[in-house]
């Protein structure tokens, strides 16, 4: 069994990956740090951006590594510039 997480890319992260979203399969009990390792492996061109990005799980910012479960929506939030 794996836990499939939906990963969303916006703005510069979307341009760098070339995709708006991707599904990533994680071992049960994996947290967002494990997911980020997998993202970096798949999209090495994102490494720099990830240092400056924030992350959200199911529409809320996370401030520490968070366990992910099947069906969660994980978003890479590059530095925002609304207003």
């Amino acid at each position: 069994m794996v836990e499939t997480v939906r990963v969303l890319f916006f703005a510069r992260s979307r341009e760098l990956t070339g995709v708006r979203e991707a599904n990533v399969d994680l071992q049960p009990g994996s947290d967002s740090s494990a997911l980020l390792e997998e993202i970096k492996r798949r999209y090495p061109q994102l490494s720099d951006l990830l240092q400056f990005a924030a992350f959200a799980v199911n529409l809320d910012y996370i401030s520490k590594p968070t366990v992910l479960k099947h069906g969660d929506e994980f978003a890479v939030i590059p530095p925002i510039s609304g207003g």
């Binding site: 703005a11 510069r12 400056f52 959200a56 910012y61 978003a75 925002i80 510039s81 609304g82 207003g83």
Partner: protein, 150 residues
Amino acid sequence: MTDHVRVTNEGLSIDTLVRMVSTPEAGAIATFSGVTRNNFEGKSVLRLEYEAYVPMAEKELQSLCSRIREKWPVFGVAIEHRIGVVPVEEASVIIAISSAHRDAALDAVKFAINDLKARVPIWKKEMYGDDYGEWKANKEFFVLKEANGL
């Protein structure tokens, strides 16, 4: 009055937002509009292109409204952010807030635009040519990220 928040592809109307927060008890209505400038650090800007994580942006705007109501006695709060192409001189964001006395509305509007720039997942690309642009970053975001360990 209920809060109104919206992320939309359409042009924004200050008149519409002011009407939304208008109420017979209000003595003051303050607004802020963020508008596309034709220049940035000497470079000519053709237009802005905005992109949002829409459901999270609307959720963050709702929680922004709640934070305003914790701090100030306001009646109506309406916030709309436009996405897609925003030409020069058109508004990308409008905030309208009503209150009985003027300081609440004025101070809440100032707080709202600062908070929006720190928290609401919307991105702006400044287009200097038809295919040539640059993603911007709000300094308010980095301050929040640092403070909250995001």
